[in-house]
């Protein structure tokens, strides 16, 4: 415990270094804007901005991106409330009560509650993170290749069991991400493989940013252009100091459900497939269930804004736990952060705590500071953000497209990758319209090289015996959990069928039953 406190103090000091502090303020502000833009969320912001962070050292870069991540979680609420359009999928639940409040002229109340709840969620989760991360990393130090592989199988299994999307399409998405990661020179034998059309551009592989920016930058913009058509209606927000103080005092009406939602959000966030969106929906449901007045939910209950906002911020911190300690991202956004860490020459995983404590604790310290700054910037600039939201999409779209194109060029500096990015963007958009989930593919392309290496190393050490994965206790547990998760949808379908059958025979007494 004491060592944690000392390391944390060091991390906090590091967060207050001028460059890092500047990165936090800049990241929070950019994140707030990105989150507030309808259609753009943390994952889009982090994917598009990652190439720009090559400008600063790794610690400052991840601090910037983590601040963007935080800011975007706060910002999502702004458009949910003022436009009635969720700024990102993570803020969907905020619309339920945020929109009715805005219609009733209480937008300022909803915005303040969202900001304060986000702060509570962020604070609770970052404390949990500090407590859980070091022991988990210590435990993970025992992992060998079989455990690593089993853990990755478990991460992918969460998409199948909890993702809620069409299962064959989810598995397809995971597999195509893994195959794309295999393009280029084989990591073990050095042989070139999957060099399509003999294009030399494939020799250096498919950079994960090409897929991530393609899908979350270009694909997402096309999607948003189609769905919004560029037309939005903004609600007027009136802010006054007296009203603000009253709003602050009303915290006690929702503090309990918010704290509960934060803890829930944190743990849901650590699961790769779950993350901030389901966490916020679950937290909303929880607040409604335990409320004294559940009927007022959906009609403008302030707790209905606070609970999901606390949970989505908590989940964003939660998703960093497996990324930092195990090297397995807890969300698409952290998958991109993980890919960035590899570019910066860091090896994510349990060794990070012992090899680069400055990096890890600098990040943790910056989470505390970012949380504080985001709530201050958010509260101070709510009127400005609301003004920016009136920007037509025909201004925003070309700016984002340009950032995507140059951002796709930067990592490898070949036009081949830019063309590939455009192709992935259009394909991703077309497939997403048919319910193919895209997040698993992004996670898979980041984890792909590691998954292949750990599988081949395990098989090599066991002389081709696949039983190695079930003979070692930790990997056996992971595989068993993964199997349970994969069978879970089948179980649900079976139960639904049985219930339907029981319902049928119940409603027709005397029939075949």
């Amino acid at each position: 415990m004491e060592t944690i406190l000392i390391s944390l103090a060091g991390g906090l000091l590091q967060a207050f270094e001028p460059l890092n502090l500047m990165m936090i303020v800049l990241g929070c502000t950019v994140g707030l804007f990105v989150g507030a833009m309808p259609g753009l969320g943390s994952v889009n912001g982090v994917a598009i901005l990652l190439p720009i962070t090559f400008l600063v050292p790794p610690t400052a870069a991840i601090i910037f991106l983590a601040a963007v991540y935080y800011g975007a979680m706060y910002g999502g609420a702004i458009s949910s409330i003022t436009l009635g359009i969720p700024g990102a999928s993570t803020a969907v639940a905020t619309v339920f009560d945020g929109r009715p409040l805005a219609m009733a002229g209480k937008a300022d109340q909803a915005l303040t509650a969202a900001a304060i709840a986000s702060f509570i969620g962020g604070t609770i989760s970052v404390v949990l993170f500090t407590l859980f991360a070091p022991p988990l990393a210590d435990f993970a130090l025992k992992f060998g290749p079989p455990e690593e592989f089993a853990l990755m199988v478990l991460a992918f299994a969460t998409f199948i069991g909890l993702g809620g999307d069409d299962i064959p399409k989810t598995i397809f998405s995971i597999l195509i991400g893994l195959v794309l990661a295999a393009v280029g020179l084989d990591i073990i034998s050095g042989k070139p493989r999957l060099i399509f059309f003999d294009a030399s551009g494939f020799l250096h592989g498919v950079n994960f940013l090409v897929l991530a920016i393609g899908i979350y930058g270009i694909g997402e913009m096309l999607w948003t252009l189609e769905t919004t058509g560029g037309k939005v209606i903004v609600h007027k927000v009136k802010m006054s100091v007296a009203g603000f103080m009253a709003n602050i005092r009303s915290v006690r009406t929702y503090i309990k459900s918010t704290s509960l939602g934060s803890v829930l959000g944190y743990f849901v966030g650590t699961l790769p497939a779950a993350g901030a969106t389901p966490a916020s929906l679950m937290s909303y449901g929880l607040a409604k269930t335990f409320s004294r007045d559940p009927d007022s939910f959906g009609k403008g209950n302030i707790a209905g804004v606070a609970a999901p906002e606390a949970a989505n911020n908590a989940a964003s911190t939660g998703s960093m736990l497996p990324m930092i300690t195990l090297g397995i991202p807890g969300s698409p956004t952290t998958a991109i952060l993980l890919g960035g860490m590899i570019i910066w020459g860091l090896r994510p995983g349990p060794l990070l705590f012992t090899e680069r404590p400055d990096f890890v604790w600098g990040l943790i310290g910056s989470l505390y500071v970012a949380n504080l700054f985001t709530v201050l910037i958010n509260l101070a600039f709510i009127p400005v953000f609301v003004r920016v939201l009136t920007l037509p999409f025909t201004v925003l779209a070309p700016v984002i497209f340009v950032l995507c194109i140059v951002g796709g060029y930067a990592p490898t500096q070949t036009m081949h990758d830019v063309w590939l990015m455009l192709l992935f963007g259009v394909m991703g958009y077309l497939m997403r319209k048919l319910n193919y989930p895209v997040a698993p593919a992004v996670l898979a392309i980041v984890l792909g090289p590691l998954a292949e290496r750990s599988l081949r190393q395990s098989l090599l050490s066991s002389q081709g015996d696949v039983l190695i994965f079930v003979e070692r206790p930790i990997s056996a547990t992971c595989i068993a959990l993964a199997a349970a998760l994969m069978l879970y949808p089948l179980f649900l379908a079976w139960r639904r069928r049985r219930e339907a059958a029981a319902g049928d025979s119940g409603s027709h007494p005397g029939a075949s039953g």
Binding site: K191, E226, V399, F401, K433
Partner: protein, 200 residues
């Protein structure tokens, strides 16, 4: 085209993609066990592609049985307005990339932004000038100056030599950048003054 038809076509496309990947993984690579070396180079992508094929076949079977919402939907996959807005954007992006190969990033960006803001967005001249000029200047200072990543310039490479001379010779290049933004701002203001509400 309805969603149902699109779902069928996509399943066929993913089957072909999987077969292509399987074929490509066996191309001169071992997909099985190589004695003494463990799994061959093609082992991992080949069996993943087999998995992709199985998933695509499962999607196709479910399409025939009408098990998924997409396979039942008779809604239009892309409405006419969606085709127009998405098609124009994708077309403009393709033109931008072709332009980068011919006239280089910066001049292609000028044309792309001008098209997007003026033709699609129909924005006023002051805003258009500010963005069409400002974004390439911003990208230039970010990439060429700060990150030192040269973006492709193709035929216009030589036109940038004078700028590079200034950039490498002075420590005050940021003043030039600031100056260009001020100049663009002044032009926008002037346009705003002399073309009042001309194309609203």
């Amino acid at each position: 085209m309805t969603v149902r038809q699109a779902d069928f076509l996509m399943a066929i496309a993913t089957i072909l993609m999987s077969l292509g990947l399987m074929w490509s993984s066996t191309d001169g690579l071992a997909i099985g066990w190589v004695s003494g070396k463990g799994p061959g180079s093609g082992f991992w992508p080949f069996w993943l592609a087999v998995g992709m094929l199985l998933c695509s076949l499962a999607t196709l079977v479910r399409w025939f049985l009408r098990h998924t919402p997409e396979s039942r939907s008779t809604e239009i996959y892309m409405s006419r307005s969606a085709v127009v807005v998405v098609g124009t954007s994708v077309g403009a992006l393709i033109a931008l990339l072709v332009g980068i190969h011919i006239v280089g990033t910066y001049f292609a960006l000028l044309a792309f932004l001008l098209f997007y803001l003026k033709v699609i967005g129909r924005h006023e001249w002051p805003l258009t000038v500010m963005l069409v000029g400002g974004i390439p200047v911003f990208i230039f200072s970010l990439f060429e100056w700060a990150l030192q990543i040269p973006l492709p310039k193709a035929l216009t490479e030589e036109w940038f030599y004078p700028v590079f001379d200034i950039m490498y010779e002075t420590d005050y290049f940021w003043m030039y950048i600031l100056g260009s933004f001020l100049f663009l701002g002044a032009v926008s203001l002037a346009l705003h003054k002399f073309l009042p509400g001309q194309d609203r």
